[in-house]
Symmetry: C2
Subunit: 233 residues, 2 copies
């Protein structure tokens, strides 16, 4: 397999970084090819703007998705976006590795999605969900959070974790056509012992060695909706 | 009322910007005080990092939330964060005005939340949800999206809009203690006529003039959970 790990943490010694390093080691040892986009190290620009387009389809009024599509087709979109799209094109499996900030990804990773999931390649027209541009590729979230496991669930204080992550799991990855694997969550990380952290790394390595055995998450199929995207019932 | 509008759009002529301008006009005409943080115009830095702290509690290992709390208390946190926190402190109503990017806020606004919702002031320890630091203040999302209204709902292709927005509505605003008003959504904006856009602006103005009549969204109360945050049942 070819695996792209997109990693976002501001502290190189963090446990989130250790998860990334574990993934590189485990996947490489299993004979897979691994590339890493370390967004903080790259000082990745997360702000989608007209500056991403050297040439503009409409120089007077910027519609980001439209300029993205045209700029990607013509090769005039910003070089950092082109490079990241090429990495995603290359990979079979995309791993997003990050600390939960406000029940979501940190802004630098949100901006990676905003800028790199380009219209025309990742989605467009009726090409989304199971018709999305990335169909055939798998995606996995691996993340750390401060909360404990019992704080997530139907009756728990924060509700279901997968519901809280819906904009990423469904609204971004599944929307773009990725087969989305169950996320790997490292709970309570700032407060646990070194032994617990070591155990989490072992669990994560086990998970990475069993990717083919995982049941992917379920999302809508365009087959169930009509041309105007009403449910067929 | 004192109203802070945090606005994020890369195109000054956009309809999202027109919503912001409408809010300024309507609220000012009604005698309210209005301030605007125009994140693109400010070139707001959305990337939470160790660079936000002139002095570090631990210079060898950065835990962002910990340094945030200490840096905010000591006044050594980055000046742009201090200024934005002061604006939120000042306001009675916070409006986040943005285009939906990947079923969420654009990265520049995610980073405003990441950096400005400082530990110790917005939340901390058992101070979250109805005990959050911003209790007594109201918050409203106003946003534009490409999808049509029928694409959101229990049986719709994207599911419930409020579920898709849960990380912002519940995981950020309600978590920090804000009373969260029902969001104002402008659907299908890139494709509708000027007449439709004008109608949306009229509806939005009406909404802003009736803020006191709106029923806020419901979220968990810490009263329903024990000291370890298990449901009391």
């Amino acid at each position: 397999m070819k695996v792209l790990i997109v990693h976002a943490h501001y502290e190189p010694q963090s446990f989130t970084t250790a998860l990334k390093d574990q993934a590189v080691a485990t996947l490489s040892a299993a004979g897979h090819e691994v590339r890493v986009s370390d967004l903080y190290a790259m000082q990745f620009n997360p702000v989608a703007s007209a500056a991403d387009f050297a040439e503009r389809s409409d120089p007077d009024y910027c519609v980001y998705a439209l300029e993205q599509r045209k700029g990607f087709e013509s090769g005039t979109i910003a070089a950092d976006i082109r490079e990241e799209v090429a990495k995603v094109d290359w990979c079979d499996v995309l791993i997003l590795n990050f600390p939960i900030f406000w029940f979501s990804v940190p802004a630098i990773m949100k901006g990676w999605i905003d800028r790199v999931f380009v219209s025309g390649r990742f989605y467009g027209g009726k090409r989304f969900y199971d018709q999305g541009g990335m169909r055939g590729k798998r995606a996995l979230l691996s993340f750390t959070l401060g909360g404990r496991e019992h704080m997530f669930g139907p009756q728990a204080i924060h509700g279901e974790l997968e519901t809280m992550l819906r904009p990423i799991l469904r609204g971004s990855l599944a929307y773009a056509g990725f087969t989305v694997l169950p996320p790997f969550a490292a709970y309570h990380v700032p407060y646990v012992t070194q032994e617990s952290r070591q155990q989490i790394l072992v669990e994560y390595a086990g998970r990475l060695n069993r990717l083919d055995d995982l049941t992917s998450l379920s999302f809508p199929s365009l087959d169930d909706f009509d041309d105007r995207l009403y449910p067929k019932t």
